[in-house]
């Protein structure tokens, strides 16, 4: 009898006992069954995370031998930082030696820069659409909605061609500028700013506050949950993004984490431990950020859906 079958059997047995004991009002049994379903589903969703965490610290033989962690008595020989040591070994490239830190720093820089830039320009646009009536506003919003329908891949080839001709290939500007102010972010901020009372804005205007001051000191503090959610969306998106850096960046020392890891997978096919350790490290910052901001993120996410 293996542990998987044993667990399932035990859970079913407890359910049967509860159901038999509480026949008239099978409420307890029902509640228990629901909890078990939730627990098994959660196990299915979390198992790959647990598995990769273990795999990052296991040496090659232990990876083959034990599904998760080896028994404590075998930790000495099997659990170590060997995979990380191998990952951080200096590697030679056309532009000299590079250590994995470089890619982590590149990703960190790009994601932070994208976040600052997009939060600023998208919130500005969102404020204009939420709180001003101006000629061209409706047209602009229709255009923005339409632009979101087109597949981004349509733009890959023409954008590449254009970036070559303006000399932006291999520059981070190619990754940061095109998305600096985007329709998606502007719509999110517009939605949040609609609920800012007009009287506050009017009052500030009467007091002689400048338009930028109203935006930065009155409106922005009131939409902080959306700002937090949007920071996470942008940071995550940029951290995880693959196509832009893969196609527009050429120098090895400018690459980001997803690109280099996907290269390692085909380059060091047998070194599972090494690229799993790299993947583990690359998920950590995203996980930390998500756990900090998850409440805002999940609640703001649903504002983009129709009301059910």
């Amino acid at each position: 009898m293996n542990p998987v079958r044993l667990t399932l059997l035990a859970a079913a047995a407890v359910a049967a006992i509860l159901y038999a004991a509480d026949r008239r009002r099978p409420r307890l049994a029902g509640r228990y069954a629901r909890l078990m379903v939730l627990v098994f589903l959660a196990a299915a969703f979390l198992a790959p995370f647990a598995w990769i965490t273990c795999a990052a610290f296991k040496d090659r033989r232990a990876l083959m031998e034990y599904t998760f962690l080896p028994p404590l008595s075998a930790w000495r020989e099997t659990i170590n930082l060997g995979n990380f040591r191998k990952l951080f070994e200096p590697r030679t490239s056309l532009q000299g030696t590079i250590v994995f830190w470089q890619y982590l720093l590149n990703s960190l820089f790009l994601s932070s820069a994208a976040t600052v830039i997009q939060v600023f320009f998208c919130s500005l646009g969102g404020y204009a659409l939420a709180k001003f009536r101006f000629p061209g506003r409706r047209t602009l919003m229709l255009f923005m909605a339409g632009s979101l329908m087109l597949p981004s891949m349509l733009f890959l080839a023409p954008t590449y061609d254009m970036l070559v001709h303006i000399g932006w290939i291999d520059s981070y500007a190619a990754l940061l500028v095109p998305s600096a102010a985007n329709a998606f972010g502007i719509f999110l901020f517009r939605q949040a700013m609609l609920s800012v009372p007009n009287s506050l804005i009017e009052a500030a205007r009467v007091d002689g506050a400048s338009e930028f001051h109203i935006y930065s000191r009155i409106v922005m503090p009131l939409v902080q949950p959306m700002t937090a959610a949007f920071c996470l969306i942008v940071f995550m998106g940029q951290w995880n993004t693959f196509l832009g850096p893969q196609v527009f960046i050429q120098s090895d020392y400018k690459l980001t984490v997803p690109i280099i890891l996907s290269q390692y997978v085909s380059q060091f096919q047998e070194e599972y431990g090494m690229f799993l350790a790299g993947t583990f490290l690359s998920i950590l910052p995203i996980a930390a950020l998500f756990l900090t901001l998850q409440k805002e993120f999940i609640s703001e996410l649903t504002t983009s859906a129709p009301r059910g």
Partner: protein
């Protein structure tokens, strides 16, 4: 909002709203959009009629690219795989994410927030990272999935999911389900919380069973959200690229055995990046945009979303 907000502001006291302010606020969006959306869009039309060798050499081929695409057996395979993934993936995704939401919605309290977090957490991890992890999770002998199957039903330890053209698609669908079921669940969860509880109470008192309440009250109430999730899942599945790319990186055939992991965007990527034909890639982009538009319109028609 307070009632006073709705009263007209007395004329004399009204401060002039600067006419230029909203235009200045949307100016960054307009500038970026003209340069990196409108121009590439027009350029994509032009490029689609050329054959290019990289960005600097091109010849006019008229409709040649489109003729080539439509007669290329590889494109047909890509189209077929994309259609299968889109239909099968969405057909599994919708009930799965609704099911997760239903199980969660019936519980309450702090435990619910935890389970919501667990189910949602995979969707913050980028497709490249997930692909790398699942390539190993799906590996024969030591992979997590096969070990689980072995323990549960006693077979399957040797299954080479990614090296057999019959199992590649199920593997991609399973991975995609793990990745996004919790994301779509959030939309259903929000919709379920807006279902009129009084209506459900009334139906219960009238003797309606659980299934009838679900079928006649809950389901109609969450319909708009279900259609929304259907639309975004379909649009997303037509643009599938990074997940199969990373999954297949470590295998001997990057597009899967017999091109079983070749999707439309992968075909486009190969055209642009491996072949270097930006014209062909643009033409594929237009075919993709056309297909997505057609499918979305058909879905909106069939589901009657435009009436909601």
């Amino acid at each position: 909002m307070r009632a006073a907000d709705n009263l007209p502001v007395p004329r004399r006291r009204r401060s002039p709203t600067p006419r230029w302010a909203p235009y200045l606020f949307v100016a960054p969006y307009i500038a970026v959009t003209l340069a990196f959306f409108a121009y590439p869009f027009a350029h994509a039309i032009e490029l689609a009629f050329y054959q290019t060798a990289g960005p600097n050499a091109r010849v006019w081929v008229g409709m040649g690219n489109f003729r080539y695409i439509l007669s290329d057996p590889d494109f047909r395979t890509a189209l077929y795989n994309t259609a299968v993934f889109s239909v099968a993936g969405t057909a599994i995704m919708l009930p799965a994410s609704l099911g997760l939401a239903l199980v969660l919605n019936s519980g309450r309290g702090r435990a619910r927030a935890w389970f919501r977090l667990f189910f949602f957490s995979p969707s913050v991890v980028g497709q490249i990272f997930v692909g790398i992890i699942f390539a190993v999770v799906l590996a024969p002998d030591y992979g997590l999935l096969n070990r689980f199957l072995q323990a549960l039903v006693g077979w399957g330890l040797e299954t080479r999911w990614l090296e057999n053209s019959a199992t590649v698609m199920p593997a991609i669908i399973i991975t995609n389900l793990w990745l996004y079921a919790g994301f779509n669940m959030i939309y259903f969860l929000a919709a379920l919380q807006n279902v009129d509880q009084n209506l459900i109470e009334a139906a219960r008192i009238d003797g309606a069973g659980r299934w009838r309440v679900f079928r006649h009250i809950t389901l109609p109430a969450i319909r708009p959200v279900a259609i929304f999730v259907l639309l975004i899942s379909t649009i997303g599945s037509f643009q599938l690229f990074e997940l199969p790319y990373a999954l297949m990186r470590g295998t001997t055939s990057p597009n899967g055995p017999n091109n079983s992991a070749l999707f439309i965007v992968g075909y486009l990527y190969d055209a642009a990046y491996s072949i270097g034909d930006l014209g062909l890639a643009s033409a594929v982009g237009w075919v993709l945009a056309l297909i997505m538009l057609t499918v979305s319109l058909i879905q909106i028609r069939l589901t009657g979303a435009s009436n909601d």
